[in-house]
């Protein structure tokens, strides 16, 4: 069974602007996959379908065999953890501890089990020392790690990250990639940071114009310069894909 399967997904915003035109993709359990694409390709719209925030205009999304629909939102949102691009959108409670506890508390956990979830999640991202601090006193990189912890505390099966490397300094970037590589979950990482995709994800998809236009091992995708150019993706100056001709 696929961890995640999206088939024929199309969506138009109520104003008529159509963002997705029939997306097909699937993720195996434990895979780390990068979803690449230029701005306006529909990446965020796709992500918002994965945990049922948006309802497909056509097509379906299955998470671990369970179709995403209004009746199973609680279970779907436990299984799919979304980390948003701006950690300030994600963190809104007075302290880090309360923020990390928010998700599992919504799942109905209380007392020592809630406490344990918070501790484990913060330890995974190396932020256990900051539990009692207000989120807005942390650095940007720390806030992003806490944002990841708020989702990990729900023990999701799939972790979806929207532009996880944006605005990070090189050290924070490396710390985050190490955390992500050590997690034992399926990861879907939305990004246009190609080296970061290469570092973390063995497989990549390109979403462009609201459909998936390429799917394959990350080194192969990134080596196809013509494909990248066609979809407004570029490797940074001087960067060469290791092992490519």
């Amino acid at each position: 069974m696929n961890a995640l399967r999206v088939s024929g997904l199309a969506y138009a915003y109520p104003d008529g602007t159509q963002a997705l035109f029939g997306v097909d993709l699937s993720l195996e359990r434990g895979e780390r996959v990068a979803l690449l694409g230029p701005n306006g390709a529909g990446k965020t719209t796709l992500v918002l379908h994965l945990n049922g925030i948006l309802t497909p205009g056509a097509g379906q999304v299955h998470v671990g065999g369970l179709e995403v629909g209004p009746a199973r939102l609680r279970e779907i949102r436990r299984r799919v953890g979304l980390v948003f691009q701006d950690p300030d959108d994600q963190l809104f409670m007075p302290t880090v501890r309360e923020d990390v506890a928010f998700g599992p508390a919504n799942l109905g956990l209380r007392g020592s089990e809630l406490e344990r979830r918070v501790k484990v999640a913060l330890a995974k991202v190396g932020m256990a020392h900051a539990a009692d601090r207000p989120p807005h006193h942390l650095s940007f990189g720390q806030r992003r790690r806490v944002a990841v912890a708020t989702v990990l505390a729900m023990e999701p099966e799939i972790l979806v990250l929207d532009e996880p490397s944006s605005n990070l300094d090189p050290a924070s970037r490396r710390e985050l990639s190490e955390i992500l590589k050590n997690l034992d979950v399926t990861v879907l990482m939305v990004t246009h940071d190609l080296p970061y995709a290469l570092e973390i994800c063995e497989r990549s998809l390109i979403l462009s114009g609201g459909v998936v236009v390429a799917d394959g091992p990350t080194p192969e995708i990134l080596a196809d310069g013509e494909l990248l150019t066609r979809h407004r993706l570029e490797l940074p100056y001087g960067f060469a894909v290791p092992g490519a001709q």
Partner: protein, 348 residues
């Protein structure tokens, strides 16, 4: 127009509270259909927004200022059921935190400012936009008309309640004249603000306007190379059951305009006589429009004063509805004409 404690008698306050509870219960059920995950904070925002714009006092006449009631705005932005809930929450918060509007008058306030304005506003809005369901102009005009009519109607219901259970003995004619006069002016301001606010939101985030859901287009499917996949069949547009709301809104509006007008003139010389008693009238100047057919809210040539004033109300509302509907209809004709022209150009 936030009624404080002690303004109405206890029986009226209690009955109004019962009506408000019943209305809110109905709306709680109905709102589940209107609200999804993305629109739930919209309701909160609309409540906050109505609350904020009620602070924007705008001048209506010399020495008088009024503020928006916001019922029509809320109904158009989030739908009628949620709209009532929003206004109810605003009033609750105002009564609890700001001491604006009495706690025991909460039922009266929810009834007047929430249920009446939303019902009338949304009914009128649907009526107007029905004739031009696919244009932004129609939604703007619908918003204007809806808000414009909802305010004086709410004032009329206030007058009606006052007739039944006001705690002071001022003649109802006086109250009706003052309330409706001032609130017609407020209604014009409310109409303009609602129209522009809805149009602005519609231009930037059309997905946030409940009343504009009919503007959505069917989906297209494409293959990886960008070629379109033919759709099975053009999906039939879901027809919403608007007729009951529509007819209800219009009937209530007309009924109120007529009935309250009828009662309002039971003391035909209301304000004038009191003014004469107290010597106020020496300062009062005759209104320029007093000689027009509807001047002083009466129809010339109709002998019975009460019927005359009632008739004036009905005529006023009908004219407003027809004007709004007519403009919307014209707008629709134009868009259809343009669409047809575009199609024949494409065929050629």
């Amino acid at each position: 127009m936030h009624v404080p404690d002690g303004f109405f008698t206890v029986p009226v306050s209690v009955s109004a509270a019962a009506v408000a509870v019943a209305g809110v219960t109905v709306c709680l059920r109905g709102a589940r259909k209107e609200l999804d995950d993305r629109t739930a904070p919209m309701a909160g925002l609309v409540a906050a927004f109505v609350f904020a714009v009620q602070m924007l006092n705008f001048p209506v006449a010399v020495g008088t200022s009024g503020h928006l009631l916001g019922g029509a705005l809320a109904a158009i932005l989030v739908g009628p059921y949620t709209g009532v809930l929003c206004i109810a929450v605003v009033l609750l918060v105002q009564a609890l935190f700001f001491a604006d509007g009495g706690l025991t008058a909460l039922g009266v306030n929810i009834g007047l400012l929430g249920i009446v304005t939303v019902l009338v506003g949304y009914g009128v809005f649907r009526l107007v936009t029905r004739f031009a369901p696919r244009s932004r102009a129609a939604i703007g005009i619908g918003s204007f008309t809806a808000a414009l009519i909802s305010v004086p109607v709410s004032a009329l219901v206030f007058t009606l309640l006052y007739a039944v259970g006001g705690t002071s003995s001022i003649e109802i004619g006086t109250v009706a004249t003052a309330m409706v006069g001032v609130h017609t002016l407020i209604g014009i301001g409310e109409g303009l603000i609602t129209m522009v606010a809805v149009s602005t939101v519609l231009a930037v985030r059309p997905d946030l306007v409940y009343g504009a859901r009919a503007l959505a287009r069917p989906l297209l499917l494409r293959r990886a190379d960008g070629s379109p996949i033919p759709a099975d069949a053009e999906r039939a547009e879901p027809r919403r059951r608007t007729r009951p709301v529509l007819i209800g809104g219009v009937v209530i509006t007309l009924l109120l305009a007529g009935v309250v007008g009828f009662y309002a003139s039971s003391s035909p010389d209301g304000l004038e006589r009191v003014a004469a008693d107290t010597g106020f009238d020496t300062q009062a100047k005759p209104h320029d429009l007093a000689d027009s057919p509807l001047g002083d809210y009466g129809v010339k040539g109709v002998e019975n004063e009460r019927i005359s004033v009632g008739l004036a109300g009905v005529i006023g509302v009908t004219i407003t509805l027809l004007a709004g509907g007519g403009v919307a209809w014209a707008a629709r004709r134009r868009t259809e004409h343009r669409r047809r022209a575009g199609r024949s150009a494409a065929d050629a």
